[in-house]
């Protein structure tokens, strides 16, 4: 029986549980012995001109090796040529031209937390002290906070750009689209700004020696980091080694290499001394990119018997101070705007604006949770308007089973799905009718604690850049063990376990004898890494195909060794040995075959690409209890189907769903990065930013469903689905709990204050 699909415990865990991982700050390497510490001087104001920087006092402080500002950045590589395109959403890259972002602020700061200078000291505590001694003269400018202020354009962040709107895209409104509708509902909703909060913040260490730069960085993508470093520093990629050691969570915010880590790498070369940087959490909450931050207008129309005929989504994406990946995210939102529904007319448009806040980039889901939140709210608004059960409206409008592959009016082709089955499975699993009956009873009794039942059906896109592919190299050694070199990059997902399972399944080499190596560009020069839920379906398939390749090579060698026809040979994967069919006595082990293969050993390298992304789907049901006197909402149950194709490791897949659900619930009920009108962050510590805890969550009820994808493993991505489904389901549940009072919408996060205000407002207007 194949090990695939079985409940294998992780190979990573004994080390992590007994001696702990080796994150950047834990590195105790000879190359980093005596490494200096880097501390950043960051802007305390949201928008200002810099009229002077005085580092003299800082340079005199104890233990100071150097204090560096933008004026010292004289030895960078030449900037890439301006292609003249200005605003573009062609790729998830920072915009250039007038929107270009300096590594350290030059004459203007645009958000609280922007890096202005670095101090390099012998020890950690000295750095924090010395950063305080750098004196920067700021001439304050009016801060642009929020979409309206940005669109008004009274103050420009980039005067040369002549606008705060960096990118626009999508379709203009078609006035006729809603013509045939009995009912049309329109509403502005907010998908709030979130902080990713990986438990390990940003960190990097770097050493320049013998004309070669080595950078250890907490990243999801070592190879991309090397590419970016080479461009910024003007170095040949071959002169750079990037290592991703253990990484304490990423959630999209560690895609590539952060600008502050580029500064650390530059400084190590510039000063000629190894150095290391680990940010504090207070820095992390303003310095690491944030996610989401869309204001959306949804318009939905259809017939009174529940058929949705038209939907329009208008997005204003707050990109923060610099259009990094924020310029690209609304493209993904528009791509998935139609959701899992078969709606004749769907249109979406977006504008990306800059504001004096922390830049926006990917956060678990990256544009797709925003699409799902919009349409799932819209469907519930439509259901409420026509007085139909929201489950029934979904069933009527979901893409039916016979229509796959389904061409969405927004462009993508949904590969495979069973959307209505997922909905029905969740309704049955949760006991939907019983829950509605209990809800009715509580309403009738006028209970203080009211029940809310929220649904979200979703489809998402994973491995959106499938054509970019992923690499794997598999070597079987003369002792019968194997090593996998993967371009994919783990930061908690369990690749080391899953990739070893794939090798054992194909070759019969036990997992314990399979070593998985990732995140070192000297060993793995080409690869993409981890984002967009791409790992298993690209990196995993690459490992699988490398194993198949090795197996075919081994067949020839074993045939030679056993003097048999290769067609007569079989691999006994139970024993991990080759034999003539039906003759176990003729056995040749992997060790013997590998040794026979000669000096080059037995190896295969694969760069696996796919022509199309995959489209996982599912339904979430959240059951909340709302205290109608205090406004406090509590999640009681969360029941989900998250169908990501064939499951290789149920343990790992469930873990991804659990974590995703928690982050989605956190968005719905708790978390938000808040700024005041002057651009001061009000949630820049974990005391103020309400990261969700165990006490605020129930155990989750996961239902199984596997609709295979077309790739060799049948796998789709599972990393982000939980977040995509959970936020709107929970939000819809809160609103459902108080809908009988006349409440039709509450923005996320549905805090007690907001729920209480909505209840009070509804009661007053009755």
């Amino acid at each position: 029986m194949s090990i695939l699909g079985t409940r294998v415990v992780r190979t990573e865990d004994p080390r992590l549980l007994t001696v702990g991982g080796t994150y950047v700050d834990d590195l105790r390497l000879p190359e980093l012995a005596g490494a200096a510490r880097v501390a950043f001087v960051r802007s305390p104001v949201a928008h200002a001109l810099i009229t002077g920087i005085d580092v003299s006092a800082a340079r005199e402080a104890p233990g100071v090796i150097a204090v560096l500002t933008a004026a010292d950045l004289t030895d960078l590589g030449p900037p890439p040529p301006d292609d003249g395109s200005g605003g573009s959403e062609a790729a998830p890259l920072p915009l250039g031209g007038p929107w270009a972002e300096p590594l350290l602020a030059v004459d203007r700061v645009r958000y609280v937390g922007e890096a202005v200078a670095i101090v390099i000291t012998d020890d950690r505590y000295q750095g924090e002290d010395t950063a305080e001694l750098v004196s920067v003269d700021y001439e304050p400018l009016l801060a642009v906070v929020g979409a309206d202020a940005a669109l008004a354009g009274g103050m420009l962040l980039f005067p040369a750009a002549e606008s705060n709107v960096a990118v626009t895209g999508g379709a203009p409104a078609d006035g006729a689209a809603f013509g045939g509708c009995d009912v049309v509902v329109q509403r502005t909703i907010v998908n709030q700004r979130l902080a990713p909060v990986p438990l390990e913040g940003r960190a990097a260490a770097a050493q320049w020696a013998d004309g070669r730069l080595t950078v250890w960085v907490s990243t999801q993508n070592a190879q991309i980091s090397r590419f970016v470093l080479a461009g910024v520093l003007g170095l040949d990629p071959g002169a750079i080694r990037v290592v991703a050691p253990d990484v304490g969570g990423g959630f999209g915010a560690k895609v590539g290499i952060d600008r502050d880590a580029l500064v650390v790498a530059w400084a190590a070369k510039h000063v000629g001394r190894a150095m290391s940087w680990t940010e504090t959490r207070s820095e992390n909450l303003v310095g690491m990119t944030h996610g989401r931050a869309q204001r959306q207008v949804v318009k939905i129309g259809g017939t009174r018997d529940g058929r949705i005929l038209a939907y329009r989504l208008e997005i204003v994406q707050d990109a923060g101070a610099y259009p990094r990946m924020g310029g690209f995210l609304p493209f993904l939102t528009r791509l998935m705007a139609a959701g899992p529904y078969d709606i004749p007319h769907v249109e979406a448009a977006s504008s990306v604006v800059v504001t004096n806040t922390t830049p926006i980039a990917a956060y678990r889901g990256a544009g797709r949770p925003e699409a799902t939140a919009a349409i799932e709210r819209a469907v519930d608004l439509f259901a409420a308007e026509i007085g139909m059960d929201p489950a029934e409206v979904r069933r009527i409008n979901l893409v039916p089973p016979g229509k796959f592959p389904y061409s969405s009016p927004c462009g993508p082709v949904y590969d495979s799905g069973a959307y209505t089955e997922a909905l029905d499975q969740v309704l049955a699993g949760a006991g939907y009718q019983e829950l509605r009956a209990e809800q009715a009873l509580r309403r009738e009794r006028g209970d203080v604690l009211q029940l809310g039942i929220g649904l979200a059906s979703y489809v998402e896109i994973t491995a959106a850049d499938a054509e970019g592919g992923e690499t794997a190299r598999l070597v079987v050694h003369g002792d019968g063990t194997a090593t996998v070199y993967t371009g994919s990059s783990a930061h908690g997902q369990g690749h080391h376990t899953a990739w070893a399972m794939l090798v054992e399944a194909e070759l019969g080499i036990e997992m314990a004898n399979v070593t998985v190596i990732h995140g070192d560009t000297d060993l793995i020069p080409t690869g993409i890494g981890t984002y967009a839920s791409r790992s298993l379906q690209l990196g995993g398939v690459a490992v699988h195909k490398a194993a198949v390749d090795v197996k075919e090579q081994a067949r020839l060698i074993a045939a030679d060794m056993l003097e048999a026809s290769e067609a007569d040979l079989e691999l006994d994967t139970e024993r991990g040995a080759w034999q003539v069919r039906g003759d176990p006595a003729s056995s040749r082990t992997w060790a013997e075959v590998a040794r026979h293969a000669g000096d080059d050993g037995l190896a295969a390298a694969v760069n696996y690409t796919e022509g199309q992304p995959t489209f996982p789907f599912g339904t979430h049901l959240a059951l909340v209890e709302v205290d109608t006197e205090t406004g406090k909402a509590r999640l009681l149950r969360h029941v989900t189907v998250d169908d990501a194709g064939t499951v290789v490791s149920p343990v790992l897949a469930e873990g991804q769903r659990h974590g995703g659900i928690a982050q989605g619930v956190a968005q719905a009920l708790l978390e938000e990065m808040v700024y005041d009108d002057a651009g001061n962050p009000l949630t820049s510590t974990l005391v103020d930013y309400a990261a969700i805890t165990a006490a605020e969550l129930p155990s989750f009820e996961l239902l199984a469903s596997e609709t295979p994808a077309a790739n060799p493993l049948g796998a789709k991505g599972i990393g982000e689905a939980g977040t995509i489904g959970a936020a709107p389901a929970t939000q819809n549940a809160v609103i459902d709990a108080v809908s009988y009072l006349g409440v039709t919408h509450i923005d996320m996060p549905a805090t007690p204050e907001r729920i209480w205000a909505a209840i009070s407002g509804a009661r007053e207007s009755q």
Binding site: V9, R10, E12, D13, P14, L16, L17, T18, V19, G20, G21, T22, Y23, D25, D26, R28, R124, Y125, V197, P198, L199, E200, D246, V247, G248, G249, F251, T278, T280, R281, S282, H491, G492, Q493, G494, V651, L652, E654, G655, H658, G659, G660, I661, A662, Q663, T685, L686, V687, A691, T693, A694, A695, L697, S699, F700, G722
Partner: protein
């Protein structure tokens, strides 16, 4: 100042700056890097260790305050490479960790919880771990692991 702490049974003595935090003493002077720093407001619990048997957030304790005390970190839990502590075993069996960064603190918080309450309910586990953030697992499997460890430790 000179600080002497018994860390996982071994005495560690070092001359350190007065303001040195216990977590940095453990990581730098004792050379034990499993205990992580996840925040600067005593909110996340990644740095949880046992100080004379009581769980503390070692980012909020000065090394000087631990002078003459005994500290246990996750490195001191297992009795051998193949002899993990029941809490460690349960975390592995239940897939209660992903990136591993919160894990040492979470495990030590669990050891402390079970010392105080050998048979916690799910609600008690969730409440007791409120001061330890995990961003990966949604806490689902952590809670299962704590309950499993508790039931393993209970005499049947």
């Amino acid at each position: 100042m000179k600080v002497t702490v018994t860390v996982n049974g071994s005495q560690v003595a070092a001359e350190v700056a007065d303001r040195t935090l216990l977590v940095h003493f453990l990581r730098e002077q004792a050379g034990l890097t499993a205990t992580n720093v996840g925040c600067d407001t005593s909110s996340c619990g990644a740095c949880t260790v046992l100080l004379d048997g009581q769980s503390v957030k070692s980012c909020t304790v000065l090394a000087a305050q631990a002078d003459g005390c005994a500290v246990q970190t996750v490195e001191g839990l297992a009795s051998g490479p193949d002899e993990m502590h029941p809490v460690q075993r349960a975390f592995r069996a239940e897939h209660a960790l992903q990136c591993g960064f919160c894990t040492p603190g979470m495990v030590m918080a669990t050891v402390s919880l079970l010392a105080e309450n050998a048979s916690p309910t799910e609600e008690e586990v969730r409440s007791a771990l409120e001061g330890n953030l995990c961003r990966c697992t949604g806490y689902h499997n952590i809670v299962r692991a704590v309950l499993a460890a508790a039931s393993e430790r209970r005499p049947s």
